[in-house]
Amino acid sequence: MSIEVKNIRKTFGDFIALDDVSLSFPTGELVTLLGPSGCGKTTLLRIIAGLETADQGHVLLEGDDASETHVRERQVGFVFQHYALFRHMTVFENVAFGLRVKNKKERPSKEQINKKVHDLLNLVQLDWLHDRFPSQLSGGQRQRIALARALAVEPKVLLLDEPFGALDAKVRKELRRWLRKLHDELHITSILVTHDQEEALEVSDRVVLMNHGKVEQIGNPDEVYDHPATPFVYGFLGNVNFFHGRVEGTNIQVGDQNLKHGLDTGLAPGTPVVAFARPHELDIVPAIEGENKNSDGVLAQIDRILSFGATSRLELSAIENLEDSGLPQSFEVELSRAEVQKRQLTEGLQVRIIPSQLKVFQRT
């Protein structure tokens, strides 16, 4: 089932949770709503489910306005962050709940319910736990039971509200792979809410980035990662270094130092900008004593070199005070371990940071 939301607005007192949000979710896709806490993503999900009502705007399910349809009749499956399993029921009874509460005409027979529940428990690979109570399960197991319970009523849409948020990093990673596999088997239209960018990029067909109740960017994971549309998206997806400065032709003047960007930004000279670069997009050359201060790159000192695996992560701080806060601005650079050794980079060394690629946004 396709979902469309049109001009949704929702406020809680003075707080604007959603500000004129319009989105469409095509059939069969797994879309992630990604953003920091308080950006309105969970509110949007709850409005789609019918657990919350929008102040303005419409939710269209399969093209029909669902604003008047009660949650019960929306045929959505909802998975909660804290599982919300019925604590006094066994795993089996939890999954069977949605079938048992159907009215007499639609309710399947006892044998049908029995078979269906065991099929679902097999699907989430937890049939062996069918007679346990939720309190006897691990967090990951509980969330899989919650998913089986949501799927029992054959929902046309699956809504997942930070489903892995309460789990530890390792279980989270395993579960999201498993969820992706499950989605590839079932092809049920799914919306997942998360604040974990790694999770969003890994699991979804498309990512919707939200901030302050507004949509910042929509795209598939590569698109949003490689071509962030706004400074917020750039900063939110992955580690990032930024330089505040002014446009000077094909350079950016940062303090009294220069960064080449070589792009046609179309911005007038002197325009204040912020330039972004990922840690792997920065290069380091040792600074030579007495060289021209205006030569390319930003002067910095290596504070720490962290080497695990194939790459080394270097933490640096600017020599010149670039931030208003009075703290020296810090940078993060990724180099291969071999490079670090070849260039004889050591902690405490003064270097120049030269970006190989920069993304420039006008400062507002």
Binding site: L51, R72, V76, R87, F97, S138
Partner: protein
């Protein structure tokens, strides 16, 4: 036992022996003199003229009416307050609305008002000289100095007990399970019977027990509205007072011993429920922490 899991085993929080002794002595002697001794004296006084007098005092017609009336009042007031309590707690914890804080304050009102005032209020409203008194008299409806007045006064006094017990419990449990039930297609009744009530059953029972104890033992409010009509509007506590004022101590204590026995029974059930409640609330957070293992 885990290391340092007990408060007194921890060197940093251990008190000198004499402090421990003094505290124990103070609390135990208080308990002995002010709680245990009176309780024993109730039974001793009741039986000091022998079993025959005791049983006679209980099976005297006026005494039997008093016992019957107390049970009737409890039987009406407790179920009503059970329904009110669940409804109020459900409304307060599962929904957001404008005058919620006012409603919570109102529920607490019977706790903050003296029972005598509560009784007096009913007299002023329903009594012969009261606001509604004339209208009621015309239709030959008697509320004050009759059973309905006693039931009303008891209802008022016991009103907060169930709701107060449920509100913190339901607040802690949150709304997610109800939301999950609704999304799965359950209607309001199904959610109430299959999800909410099973989750609060021990807390509810606890509230009902407290409510019942108070309903049978209430003196002040009932005393004002009952009119002390012997063999008609006397509850057990009122009957005890009358007998006592007539210097019929053996009979008074015999009746008092029935109330005391009811109280002890209530206490036993309460302890059992508390133990169950603790089991339920403890099993939850523990497994949340302990279960982040990697098996999937």
């Amino acid at each position: 036992m885990k290391r340092a899991s007990r408060f007194e085993k921890n060197a940093a929080t251990r008190e000198p022996r004499w402090v421990k002794g003094l505290l124990l002595f103070l609390s135990l002697s208080f308990f002995g003199f002010f709680l245990l001794l009176p309780l024993i004296s109730v039974f001793a006084q009741a039986l000091h003229k022998g079993w025959e007098v005791y049983l006679k005092a209980i099976f005297e017609p006026d005494a039997l009416t008093a016992i019957k009336l107390s049970l009737t009042v409890a039987l009406i007031a407790v179920p009503l307050n059970l329904v009110f309590g669940v409804a109020a707690a459900w409304a307060i914890t599962k929904f957001d609305f404008k005058w919620k804080q006012l409603l919570i304050t109102l529920i607490d009102l019977p706790f903050s008002v003296s029972p005598v005032i509560a009784g007096l209020v009913y007299v002023l409203v329903f009594g012969a000289q009261g606001w509604l008194g004339r209208g009621l008299a015309e239709h030959n409806i008697k509320i004050i100095f009759a059973v309905p007045g006693i039931v009303l006064a008891t209802l008022f006094v016991t009103f907060p007990l169930v709701a107060r017990e449920l509100i913190p419990l339901m607040e802690a449990q949150g709304r997610e399970e109800e939301e999950a039930a609704t999304v799965l297609g359950a209607n309001g009744w199904q959610t109430l019977w299959k999800v909410t009530l099973p989750n609060i059953k021990w807390g509810l029972l606890y509230g009902v027990i407290l409510c019942n104890a108070r309903a049978m033992g209430e003196f002040g409010a009932v005393s004002v509205v009952s009119g002390h009509i012997r063999g008609y509007t006397n509850t057990i506590p009122l009957h005890v007072e009358i007998l006592y004022n007539e210097y019929n101590f053996a009979a008074a204590f015999a009746m008092a011993s029935i109330l005391a026995l009811l109280a002890l029974l209530t206490l036993a059930i309460k302890t059992y429920i508390e133990w169950h409640l603790r089991l339920e609330t403890e099993s939850k957070p523990l497994s949340m922490e302990a279960n982040n293992e990697t098996d999937l």
